[in-house]
């Protein structure tokens, strides 16, 4: 628990808990998430997590980005996407006890695969694909709409892996997570 009485959603050093992340990528996620949150809020901020029908509040601490960091993350779209990955991975860790174990490339980026903490990932047969989206300035309805879109896209998608969709609204301080399917 922190001063605000809410348990923490820890964005920093994700690689210490998520075996699929490297220190440099974990740093990238933390920096970009800090830039996104700093656009609208002061640290610490309380975020609402709606996860598979449950709701909770978590306190998030982030460093105020300096000019170098802001300059490095000048591209809004990249920053929001990367920041959403950092926040989503931290959120599925505390809510679903899942951590990033594997990554596989796609043409335009990469898919992340999560698995229960402590799982050995000798293959991808039982891993869960994480579908992430970020919204910088939209309100709650935008977050909910984007989650519905993401779920529909994932259902229509070609992968037959179970998946989790996660949408982060940085201004709204909201994270919406939903399991898409057990198996298709």
């Amino acid at each position: 628990m922190n001063e605000s009485g809410k348990s923490l959603l820890q964005l920093e050093s994700l690689h210490d808990r998520h075996p699929g992340l490297t220190a440099s990528l974990s740093g990238t996620f933390y920096e970009s998430a800090s830039v996104c949150l700093n656009r609208h809020h002061e640290s610490p901020v309380v975020m609402t997590i709606a996860c598979n029908g449950r709701s909770s509040k978590k306190s998030v601490e982030f460093a105020k980005p300096d000019a170098r960091v802001l300059n490095a993350w000048a591209n809004d779209i990249d920053t929001t996407e990367s920041g959403a990955y950092g926040v989503s991975l931290a959120a599925v860790e505390v809510e679903e006890h899942l951590v990033a174990v594997r990554r596989a490339e796609t043409l335009t980026g990469a898919d992340w695969y999560v698995a229960p903490i402590g799982t050995r990932s000798d293959d991808l047969e039982t891993c869960i694909r994480l579908e992430v989206s970020g919204i910088d300035a939209g309100g709650r309805s935008a977050v909910e709409t984007r989650l519905r879109q993401k779920i529909e896209q994932t259902k229509r998608g070609t992968s037959n892996l179970p998946a989790i969709a996660s949408v982060v609204g940085f201004k709204e301080k909201a994270i919406a997570i939903e399991k898409v399917s057990d198996d298709k």
Partner: protein
């Protein structure tokens, strides 16, 4: 080494490549992607064929890494060998086909002898009169013109140019960032659009990353088609630009007669941005809120249908002809050339409000498909 060990090496190198790309060290990124592809291709050979998901994901990952390393020949070769394998999972088959399509386009771009800004947009027009590989010419020409106009507008907006109401983009812009159309593998009616790279190295403002132009274009189309006006306001804070993007997006969207939807996606991206009939309705609602003064009620408004026969943006009027009756509408407000120009000699619907006995004031115009 096992699949897990080789895949882990590939992951680590691919992450490093991604970070190098982020810091704009392209040469290092390509080298790292090449190494990552090599490890992933070796991992692929070790996957137990009974592990269908792992094998499919690894195959896609290996081809994508060769593609990102710009080793198009190796990417194509591996993709074909996987596609020829009847045991490969169906989800992987679809993703591999998308990759092959992207490889072909990259090959065409290389053969064109012109350098392009990284990133391109695949466009699919579907439903209605559209058949696999074919579509009514006017339908496609209209969309291509509008996509070109939106790309120019996106570049002008990102480059901080003031909003242009009349005329075409500057000759400098048209010559520096010429959009190219590439044929894509048929599936509904598909093509891709790539932007020629400006020769002048400082053509773009210092903080603009040219490779993000296609992504910005897609984000603007996505935000224009949604119900959430806040997202478009954030992407395009300038109200005049925002209005123009909305009108251009409406020109792209179907009314449902000639075609049912148009999809845009970054090359190889499985999830498109889609404009359907409902998008047109949503954009119309947004535009009505914007263009209708609060004092004007629905009863005050008139709808004039006919052929847009004359247009004078400088003198602020247009004329619609229907059954030899000409109606002049004045006060074109922020109507802009690239939105309204392509509608000349086409069937249109104009919304206007009667300002006096003989004067109709313009509110909005759209094509009557």
């Amino acid at each position: 080494m096992t699949w897990a060990e080789l895949h882990s090496q590939s992951e680590r190198l691919a992450i490093e490549a991604h970070v190098a790309l982020k810091s704009r060290d392209t040469r290092r990124a390509l080298d790292l992607y090449r190494q990552a592809a090599d490890f992933e291709a070796r991992a692929l050979t070790l996957v137990d064929p009974s592990k269908v998901r792992t094998r499919g994901i690894t195959a896609v990952s290996a081809v994508a890494l060769w593609f990102k390393a710009e080793e198009y020949g190796r990417a194509e070769q591996l993709a074909y060998s996987m596609l020829a394998d009847s045991s490969i999972a169906s989800f992987a088959v679809e993703e591999l086909r998308n990759l092959v399509q992207a490889i072909w386009t990259e090959g065409s771009k290389l053969r064109a002898g012109v350098t392009f800004i990284p990133g391109q947009v695949m466009v699919s027009v579907k439903g209605g009169e559209v058949v696999t590989g074919g579509a009514p010419l006017d339908l496609i020409v209209d969309r291509v013109q509008t996509i070109q106009a939106m790309f120019y507008r996106t570049i002008e907006f990102l480059n901080g140019a003031s909003h242009r109401r009349v005329g075409r983009p500057t000759r400098e812009l048209q010559e520096a960032c010429r959009p190219w159309l590439f044929q894509s593998a048929p599936g509904s009616y598909q093509f891709s659009v790539a932007i020629q790279k400006p020769v002048q190295p400082d053509f773009f403002k210092k903080d603009i990353q040219p490779e993000q132009i296609a992504q910005h274009f897609l984000e603007i189309v996505r935000a224009s088609s949604g119900d959430d006006t806040g997202e478009l306001e954030r992407l395009v804070p300038d109200e005049t630009y925002r209005g123009t993007f909305l009108k251009l997006a409406r020109n792209l969207a179907p009314s449902g007669k000639a075609f049912e939807r148009i999809e845009f996606r970054a090359a190889g991206e499985a999830h498109p941005v889609t404009l359907g009939v409902e998008s047109r309705l949503s954009i119309n609602q947004q535009l009505r809120k914007k263009s209708t003064p609060p004092t004007v009620t629905d009863e005050d408004q008139e709808e004039i249908r006919g052929i847009l026969r004359a247009l004078h943006l400088d003198k602020d009027w247009l004329e619609v002809v229907d059954a030899n009756v000409t109606t002049r509408i004045v006060g074109l407000q922020d109507a802009v050339d690239d939105v309204i120009g392509p509608m000349v000699n086409r069937s249109v619907v104009v919304r206007a409000v009667r300002a006096g006995r003989n004067e109709l004031k313009f509110l909005d115009i759209e094509l009557a498909e």
